[in-house]
Assembly symmetry: C2
Homo-oligomer: 144 residues x 2
Amino acid sequence: MPSSVTSPAVDALVQLSFAVHRALTRVAGQFDLSVTQLRLLGILRDRTPSMAAIADFLELDRSSISGLIDRAERRGLVARRASTVDARVILVEATAEGLAVGAHIAQGVSEALEQLIGDATPADIDAVVRIAASLQARADRDLT
Amino acid sequence: MPSSVTSPAVDALVQLSFAVHRALTRVAGQFDLSVTQLRLLGILRDRTPSMAAIADFLELDRSSISGLIDRAERRGLVARRASTVDARVILVEATAEGLAVGAHIAQGVSEALEQLIGDATPADIDAVVRIAASLQARADRDLT
DNA sequence: GAATGTAGTTGGTGATACCAAGTATATTAC
DNA sequence: GTAATATACTTGGTATCACCAACTACATTC
């Protein structure tokens, strides 16, 4: 229950954001993972990115990724692999176990969030989808 | 850019949540504060809660609050005060500076989030407000 | 081939958050 | 009215996260 800030819209965004974040924290915790590790496994579900690409996805400093991958690797969730193209680059892939955990997490996140917005009307949910899409569109545009 | 998870609605919630969280992190960073400290100052804008009440607000372990308040106190943002009612209880209040910083932060958060949803229609924003309200209503109900 | 740039790691720091264990004060129960 | 129990907060220990600055190794540019 983040305290009230100012306008209803701002307030609603903050509350919704924290509710989602709490849900993610809870689901991640069920697998003894942090939200960052959860996001990492999400990224690796359908990609084998370089360390730098992971840093870009997560908007973290590159030096933060080394430790993140170290810890995930130590738990057998991911593996480092050399790039054949550029000897500087290290690619990160999920292990079979990492993929399995990632799938369970995706499932858990879906259930948690669908329950979170269970009371909302389809029209209201569509509005959220539209807003997220416009954020995404703006982010893509600003990358240019 | 959190990676896609499953349904559009779930995806949208996650993306929106991270966008808000990034905005909060950015604003907090402008004042050299963490998001948790930002939330703390938000809480203290109109309250003088006990340590335990802060833990409840933030959904953190009570032992986490001691350090949080230590750090905020060291920076002159908050002060501990003894309760006259119960000698075990410590009340936390914002200092004048803490209130000032809190006001600036509220301002910064409003601007950042209003800009974030600047492209959205009023109707879509109302939908978010309704969803947040329903979360709040459920939380209040479940506390019973 | 030398200068510059990029990828990743390391070491150091500070903040967060947890748990378990401790002290001090209140409340309850007998 | 005191003994047992509960509550409020702190402390110490641990792990994670995230940053910065400095470093090594490989690529690219000139």
